[in-house]
């Protein structure tokens, strides 16, 4: 058992535990904080996979911006915990059954059908450096320039949409 595998196993235990904590904690604020921890763990996985730029984007965008927005809205609405309702009582057991089936199917297909495509080698110093970043930037602003620009329009539309949806009507049109 090498050190990479030990790091992977410990981190994946943390990732699964925080995901389950997000799912089962009754207070939505705790859920959001568990999810922040999960995102940071996934960012460390990205570093292990040799994707430092994606890891940093993950931390700034997901763990930073998106989760802060979530916490703001949770506290704004006072939606830390909702009163349990009795509509659709059969839904929860059915949901658990279906998701267990989904997990078993995915793992079964993965380990029975797929061929082994390769091993993830831990990145050496050259991967987490400026060179790989430059390669990725050339790819992003060369081959993928059009999707990049479309993304900026998408973000603009989302911003305008959020403002239009939440403005108060009193101020007139």
């Amino acid at each position: 058992m090498n050190s990479d595998l030990i790091v992977f196993l410990v981190l994946s235990l943390v990732a699964i535990a925080t995901a389950l904590g997000m799912l089962f904690s009754s207070n939505a604020v705790y859920s959001a904080l568990f999810l922040v921890l999960n995102f940071v763990t996934v960012a460390i996985f990205y570093l292990l996979l040799g994707a430092p730029f994606i890891a940093m984007s993950q931390i700034t965008v997901y763990a930073g911006a998106i989760m802060v927005l979530f916490l703001f809205v949770i506290m704004l609405l006072g939606a830390e915990s909702l009163a349990p309702s009795n509509n659709l009582p059969w839904q929860k057991p059915l949901a658990r059954l279906l998701s267990v089936m989904l997990a078993v199917e995915a793992i079964y297909l993965l380990f029975s059908r797929a061929q082994i495509v390769g091993n993830v080698i831990a990145p050496d110093a050259s991967v987490n450096s400026m060179d790989s970043l430059r390669e990725m930037a050339i790819s992003l602003f060369g081959q993928y320039l059009l999707p990049f620009e479309v993304t900026s329009i998408l973000l603009l539309v989302a911003m305008v949409g959020a403002i239009v949806l939440t403005r108060s009507e009193r101020g007139g049109r």
């Binding site: 704004l76 949409g161 959020a162």
Partner: protein
């Protein structure tokens, strides 16, 4: 070194936990967080395969997915705030009519 299968298995497990959250929780904010978890699981699989095949396309796709997730969260949370302002309640079970 770690077999890439382990990363894909972890991604599948995280995706399943997210799907369970969407199916079983009643708080729309938790449902949103579960969707984010599922997006993250898919991103992890993308980066794992990008690392195996030594290409940047997977990482760039993950970058776009992160941007789309940010846009989706902004609009979705605005919708939830608007529903709360209209109905004073955001329990998913109560939202069973299209009329405001």
């Amino acid at each position: 070194m770690v077999p890439v299968d382990y990363y894909i298995a972890l991604s599948a497990i995280l995706f399943t936990i997210g799907a369970l959250g969407v199916l079983s929780r009643r708080n729309p904010l938790i449902i949103f967080m579960s969707i984010e978890l599922m997006l993250n699981a898919a991103n992890l699989a993308f980066v794992a395969f990008a690392s195996i095949y030594q290409t940047f396309s997977g990482q760039i796709f993950v970058f776009f997915v992160i941007a789309v997730a940010a846009a989706e969260v902004a609009v979705g949370l605005a919708l939830i705030v608007e529903i709360f302002k209209t109905r004073r309640n955001i329990n998913i079970d109560e939202m069973n009519s299209l009329k405001g």
